[in-house]
C-alpha cells in the first residue's frame, strides 16, 4: 500500500470550505410525499371498498372512510416529515436528522464514503427534484439518502461530499 506521508502539506485545502450550515429540503418535496400519501390512501380505500362490497354492502361507506383516514395520516406525516428533515455537511461527516414517529440522526464520516449517487425518478423529474444516496460499506448504507434536493443543490452536495471524501483519504476498513 502506498503511503501518504506528506499530510498537512501546503496543498491540503481547508475542508471547512465545503461545509454547509444546517439545511432543509426543498419545500416541493412535500407535494411529492403528499401525492404519494394520496395514492396509497386511494389504493387502501379501493381495497377496503372492495372488501366491504364482498362482505356486506351496507358497510360500503367504510371503504372510502378508511382510505380517507390513511390519506389524511399520510398527508400529516408528509408535512411533519418535511419539517423534521435537515442535513448538514460538517467538516468530518455528513449529518442527517429526520423522522416523525422515530427520530433518526445519522453521522456518516467522509472517510467511510464508498460512492455517491444522485438519482431522479420520473415523478421527481416532473417536480424538478433529485435524491442523493451516499453508500458506505456498512449495512445501513441504504439509509443514507437525502431526498428533495433541487438538481443544482444535489450536484452541489455531491461535489462537496466527493471533495470531502477525497480530502479525508479513507482507508479500507474492510
Amino acid at each position: 500500500m502506498q503511503t501518504h506521508a506528506d499530510e498537512g502539506g501546503p496543498d491540503v485545502a481547508d475542508p471547512t470550505a465545503y461545509t454547509t450550515d444546517v439545511r432543509t429540503l426543498d419545500s416541493r418535496v412535500r407535494w411529492l410525499w403528499i401525492g404519494r400519501a394520496l395514492i396509497i390512501g386511494a389504493f387502501v380505500g379501493g381495497i377496503a371498498t372492495a372488501v366491504a362490497f364482498g362482505v356486506d354492502r351496507s358497510y360500503l361507506w367504510a371503504g372510502p372512510l378508511v382510505g380517507g383516514l390513511v390519506a389524511a395520516l399520510g398527508v400529516i406525516h408528509s408535512i411533519l416529515l418535511y419539517r423534521t428533515w435537515s442535513y448538514e455537511v460538517r467538516a468530518d461527516s455528513l449529518f442527517l436528522d429526520r423522522g416523525v414517529i422515530t427520530r433518526v440522526q445519522t453521522v456518516v464520516p467522509y472517510v467511510r464514503v464508498q460512492h455517491i449517487d444522485t438519482s431522479r425518478g420520473p415523478i421527481e423529474r416532473a417536480v424538478g427534484l433529485s435524491t442523493l444516496v451516499v453508500y458506505t460499506a456498512g449495512s445501513r448504507g441504504a439509509d443514507v439518502t437525502v431526498p428533495g434536493l433541487t438538481p443544482p443543490e444535489a450536484d452541489d452536495l455531491q461535489t462537496r461530499l466527493k471533495l470531502l471524501a477525497i480530502e479525508s483519504e479513507g482507508e479500507d476498513a474492510v
Partner: protein, 501 residues
C-alpha cells in the same frame, strides 16, 4: 494450476443427482410416447446420453478451469462456453476457507472458498482441489498477503512458520457446548409433520382417557429430542476445534463429519462478539465470534457459525482471548437509566394483557372452557422480566473501542474498535421520547451487521446518546489519524531495515 482430476467424477455425480430427475422425466416421457420394449430402449438411450453429456461437461469444466498466483492477484480463468477471467487482489481477500464433507475426505479432495467484502456471495470457489492443494492455496494467499506488506515479519522478529495454539476444544468443553447450544428451533420442523400424523395415530391406538397424558408426554419427548439433537449437531460441527495464531492471521479447524478450516486475517477483524446464554452464564462459560466483512450473503443460512473463534470455554479464558484479539480495557458497563425499565414493564404488561384477551376470546367464542383470567398471573413476572432485561443492557465507551451488551436469554457483548465504525445512528421512537431515551447504533461492515445485530446501546438517556454519537464520530477520526501514524512509522522502520539489510 488445475483442479483435482477426482473432481470430475465427484462433480458429475453431484450434478448428476440434480440432473437425474430431469433426465428420468425426459426418459419416461420419451419411453411413454413409444411404449413397450422399444420404450425401455429409448429410456436407456436418453439416460446414457444424459450421463455422457454430464461427464463430458465436467471434463470440459475441469480442462477449462485454471487458477494461479500472480504478483498481486489470485487469478481464476473458468467457464466452458462463456469464459470468465477473475483477478482478486491479495489485499482484498478476507477469508480463505477449506471445506470437506465425508465423501470428499475419502476422495482426498476439498472445496476452497475465497471471501471478499464486496458482493453478496462468495467471491471465488475452487471445486474441487486436492487436500494438499487446498492447504497450499490457503498458505500461499496468506503468505502473499504478508509479502505485499513488505518484510514485516523480519522486523517483528517473527519466523514465517511460527504459530501458537490459542485454543483447543477439550472433550469436557465439547459436552458443555452440546448442553449450552441446545435450542428448540428444530421443534417447529418436527412439529409440522407431527401435527398431521399425531391426531390420527392417537385416535387409532390410544385407549380412552390416556390421551391427555400421552399428548403431554409426547410433546415433552419431542421437546427433549429436538433439544438433544440440536446439541449433538453443534457438537459434531465443532468437534476437534482448534484456533491458531499465525503471524498475520487466525486459523481454525473443526468438524466431525464435515471438516472445515478457515483463516481470518488479523487486520480484517471488524468486531468481536462474546455470547453467553442463560445456561452458559450459569455454568460460567461463554463463546466468542470474530466478524469480518466477508461472508456477506453466503452465510446467512447457518448464521455466524463459520466465524466462531471459540465455540465455548470458561468465561475468563474467553475474555482474555478476546483481549488478545482486540485490546479493550474492561467489561464494566454503564447501565441505561432506571426509567428504561418502565418501558419494558409497560411492554410486557401489554403482552400479558393481549394473551389474557385472546384467552378470553377463546373461552367466549368456542366450546373450550378454562379459567382464562389465570393468565393474568403472568403480570407477576412482568417486573422480574423488565428488571432482567434492563440489568443485561449496557454500553461502555473507551478511547479506542465501544462495547455494548444486550439480551437476557442470550446475552451478547459486542466490542467495536473505533477504527471500524462505518456510521453512527441515534434513533428515538415516540415511546422513547416520552421518557427521553434513545438508541445508539454503531454500524460496521461486519457480517453480523447485515443480519441486524449491530452493536447497540439501547434506551440510554437521549442527551447521552447524542454525546456518544458525536464522541464516536470523533474517535473514528482519531483512530484513523493514529492508524496513519502507525503505518508511516512502520513504513519508516521497514525502509530503514531494508537499507540496513
Amino acid at each position: 494450476m488445475q483442479l483435482d482430476p477426482l473432481s470430475i467424477p465427484y462433480r458429475a455425480v453431484e450434478r448428476g443427482l440434480q440432473a437425474v430427475i430431469g433426465i428420468a422425466i425426459a426418459g419416461i416421457a420419451g419411453a411413454g410416447s413409444v411404449g413397450g420394449l422399444e420404450g425401455l430402449a429409448v429410456f436407456a438411450v436418453i439416460v446414457v446420453v444424459g450421463i455422457v453429456l454430464s461427464v463430458g461437461w465436467q471434463v470440459a469444466y475441469y480442462r477449462r478451469f485454471e487458477y494461479q498466483f500472480t504478483e498481486d492477484t489470485f487469478d481464476i480463468d473458468s467457464g466452458v462456453l462463456s469464459r470468465r477471467a477473475r483477478e482478486i487482489p491479495y489485499g482484498r481477500i478476507q477469508n480463505v476457507d477449506i471445506r470437506q464433507n465425508v465423501i470428499q475426505r475419502v476422495l482426498g479432495i476439498a472445496e476452497v472458498r475465497l471471501e471478499t467484502a464486496g458482493g453478496g456471495e462468495t467471491e471465488a470457489q475452487l471445486r474441487y482441489v486436492s487436500r494438499d492443494d487446498a492447504e497450499y492455496v490457503q498458505e500461499e494467499v496468506s503468505r502473499r498477503k504478508r509479502g505485499g506488506a513488505g518484510e514485516g515479519d523480519a522486523v517483528e522478529g517473527v519466523v514465517e512458520e511460527s504459530e501458537t495454539q490459542l485454543f483447543e476444544l477439550t472433550h469436557r468443553e465439547l459436552v458443555i457446548l452440546g448442553v449450552v447450544s441446545m435450542d428448540l428451533r428444530l421443534l417447529s420442523i418436527l412439529a409440522i409433520p407431527l401435527s398431521f400424523v399425531g391426531p390420527s395415530v392417537l385416535a387409532d391406538f390410544a385407549p380412552e382417557g390416556v390421551t391427555v397424558v400421552l399428548i403431554v408426554a409426547g410433546l415433552l419427548a419431542l421437546v427433549v429430542a429436538s433439544a438433544i439433537f440440536s446439541g449433538l449437531l453443534s457438537m459434531a460441527r465443532y468437534y476437534g476445534f482448534v484456533l491458531l495464531d499465525r503471524a498475520e492471521e487466525y486459523r481454525y479447524e473443526r468438524g466431525l463429519f464435515q471438516r472445515f478450516s478457515g483463516s481470518i486475517p488479523k487486520d480484517k477483524v471488524q468486531t468481536i462478539t462474546l455470547t453467553e446464554n442463560v445456561i452458559a452464564r450459569r455454568l460460567g462459560y461463554a463463546s466468542l465470534t470474530i466478524e469480518t466483512a466477508g461472508y456477506a450473503g453466503s452465510n446467512q443460512g447457518n448464521g455466524s457459525s463459520s466465524q466462531s473463534a471459540i465455540p465455548v470455554a470458561e468465561r475468563e479464558r474467553v475474555v482474555s482471548l478476546a483481549h488478545r484479539i482486540e485490546y479493550f480495557e474492561g467489561l464494566e458497563f454503564e447501565r441505561p437509566p432506571k426509567r428504561a425499565r418502565e418501558r419494558y414493564a409497560v411492554r410486557y404488561t401489554l403482552v400479558v394483557a393481549f394473551l389474557v384477551a385472546v384467552a378470553y376470546g377463546v373461552v367466549r367464542f368456542t366450546e373450550l372452557s378454562f379459567p382464562w383470567y389465570a393468565l393474568a398471573a403472568g403480570l407477576l413476572l412482568v417486573p422480574v422480566a423488565a428488571h432482567l432485561k434492563w440489568l443485561n443492557r449496557g454500553y461502555r465507551l473507551e478511547d479506542d473501542h465501544v462495547v455494548t451488551r444486550n439480551g437476557f436469554w442470550s446475552r451478547r457483548i459486542t466490542i467495536v474498535p473505533s477504527y471500524r465504525i462505518q456510521t453512527v445512528v441515534t434513533s428515538e421512537t415516540i415511546f422513547q421520547r416520552r421518557r427521553n431515551l434513545a438508541t445508539l447504533v454503531v454500524d460496521t461492515a461486519g457480517a453480523y451487521s447485515l443480519l441486524g445485530d449491530d452493536a447497540k446501546a439501547v434506551d440510554v438517556d437521549a442527551d447521552v446518546a447524542d454525546a456518544l454519537r458525536e464522541d464516536l464520530a470523533e474517535d473514528l477520526q482519531d483512530a484513523i489519524v493514529e492508524y496513519r501514524h502507525q503505518r508511516d512509522r512502520d513504513a519508516t522502520v521497514r525502509a530503514e531495515h531494508v537499507t540496513d539489510g
